[in-house]
Symmetry: C2
Subunit: 152 residues, 2 copies
DNA sequence: CCTGAATCGTTGAACCTTCAACGAATCTAG
DNA sequence: CTAGATTCGTTGAAGGTTCAACGATTCAGG
């Protein structure tokens, strides 16, 4: 490792502080809303949302975990609770004996309907009401590029 | 509430998905680095960093919690561990009997020195190496505005 | 085929965070 | 001065996440 790590200059530090504060505070803000409106965590909400948009509202546990930005273990624990509450159901994958499929139930859809409007409203309030169309696109583009770095 | 919550359109959804993925994945990425380099969590690292930049490397628990983006309760638990490990020390505030002051110790500074270079390198790799100077400023500005919305 | 490697999901234990309750100190209004 | 309200920090319990280990299934190479 020959490359030194020069410290952040003032402008970089200002940017970083604002950015990391958003990163650290946004999740709990989102969590509060879905917890109030539907008595579920934001991660549980994510599971339901991703399933809703999936084909047959069904998805493999692994893929679900990835799209929900969580570990498979975390999903497994959460899925047990969601299944106990009747919001999803799980069954063995017919084509691959290792896999488990998770599917949204009617009660899951109801729960989603309970949380979604408030969630959209909050996302707008936090992000899209504040940004012009161009700024929105800029935010998306910057996010994609940072994301690519994180994944690597 | 007369205002309807129109669903996100396609461009908004694309932006949101990229953005929220960064928000959800960045913390664990940062966590992994400091845990590897210094065997502490990112929140613990934040506590040490904020103290390092404070006057006399000392700060009230409440202020510390706010600047670390965590609850006071969370900080209190973490501070107990950090104090047990000798990385910080706590003592009653002389001017306000309700307050507790936390101060960085020598061992805390050592721990910081252990984690900081890798942290800076990672922050650069994730964000600043990828962005032009203008894009960086843009990211900072957008973050500040979103943050203002979240705080409100 | 057959064996070792890899993938998939679950589990229990350890750990951390959240939440509600509390004691102590300070502020405020009368 | 004083009683009530507020601020500050800690605590224990409850609940959620991470980590390592595991069984089961599938894949890859000989």
């Amino acid at each position: 490792m020959s490359d030194e790590a020069p410290w952040l200059d003032e402008a970089e530090m200002t940017t970083w502080l604002a950015f990391i504060r958003v990163v650290m505070r946004l999740p709990s803000a989102l969590d509060g809303q879905v917890r109030n409106d539907a008595d579920i965590s934001y991660f549980e909400y994510s599971v339901l949302v991703v399933l809703e948009h999936a084909e047959d509202q069904t998805m493999r546990m692994s893929d679900l975990a990835f799209l929900c930005n969580g570990s498979l273990s975390r999903l497994s624990h959460v899925a047990r609770r969601l299944e106990n509450d009747g919001l999803i159901r799980r069954y063995a994958c017919p084509t691959d004996g290792r896999s488990t499929l998770a599917a949204l139930t009617d009660r899951g859809r109801e729960k989603l309907a309970q949380a979604a409007p408030g969630h959209v409203k909050l996302v707008r309030a936090f992000v899209f009401d504040e940004l012009t169309r161009d700024e929105m696109r800029q935010l998306g583009e910057l996010s994609e590029r940072i994301l690519a770095r994180i994944q690597a």
